[in-house]
Point group: C2
Chain length 169, copies 2
């Protein structure tokens, strides 16, 4: 298959399977933790997974309004709080947006590669990066509690397109 080993999902793929897998993993994680993945929270998670790009809170809100009325900002933010707390969603600080976690089964220090052209985001879980950051901080007497690592640039597809007549703007 095209993207088996890559964290990028640019090429057309069976995205329904991505969403189904994410929701199944969420169901499992919540069952194991005794957390309640309600219909609303599950739907918000599903909307976040609708694309491999970060979703903004007010875009989710617009979707919900169309589906069920009685949706307001707190509706979305409370669901996001739950999903983040249980590791099902990551907040992307540099975009004020939210993306589904690739592997919510345990806590981790992730890094994100964000294409500034097509918006695709890839989640890495590079232990060496996380460890080097912790080591550098520790050398200065700093105790790390959370790493925010968001790398902007061009994804493979968009980088190939730059300067390429077949893709140039």
């Amino acid at each position: 298959m095209a993207d088996a080993g890559s964290p990028f999902h640019e090429a057309p793929h069976d995205h329904h399977a991505c969403v189904a897998a994410a929701l199944a993993a969420a169901d499992l994680v919540c069952r194991q933790k005794g957390a309640r993945l309600t219909a609303l929270r599950r739907r918000v998670l599903e909307l976040i997974w609708s694309r491999h790009a970060p979703a903004r809170a007010y875009d989710i809100l617009e979707q919900l309004k169309g589906e069920r009325g009685g949706a307001a900002p707190p509706t979305v933010y409370r669901a996001l709080d739950f999903l983040i707390e249980h590791g099902l969603v990551h907040r992307i600080e540099s975009l004020n947006a939210f993306v589904g976690c690739n592997d919510p089964r345990y806590g981790h220090s992730a890094q994100f590669l964000i294409c500034r052209r097509c918006g695709t985001i890839a989640e890495l879980e590079d232990a060496e990066v996380a460890r080097l950051v912790r080591a550098r901080a520790a050398a200065l007497g700093f105790r790390v509690s959370h790493q925010t690592i968001e790398i902007a640039g061009l994804c493979p597809g968009c980088d190939a397109g730059s300067g390429d007549p077949t893709h140039a703007a």
Copy 2:
């Protein structure tokens, strides 16, 4: 001096010297680039340097209002845009705030250590971290244009204070 080798400035120190050095460096950088560090821009930079913690745009705005009237959000954000464009200030995405650059003489990939207790921020310029991130991205075909690396935790002073009766809250 107390903190000669540390990026942290928690202990009392001659902070006036920090500010003076930052402003002098800014003057130099702007003169060399032909950029106009106007009184307003210089004052905003000075306010950002008032502490070794990120400054929020609307706090800067409140200061300016008290000093000169006729200050509104665009006043601050335009000054910030200028300062960021010329590398004099960094935006801290995870805080929606701004901090003076330690070394504005040339572009760089910085990392920030942010104390979640006292708010102190330290800017690192660790080439190895930046290089490892670039390497990991490159291995996936991703071309990096900007790294956002913001590490939350406890600075040396606050970490020592945790559980220590002499500092406990």
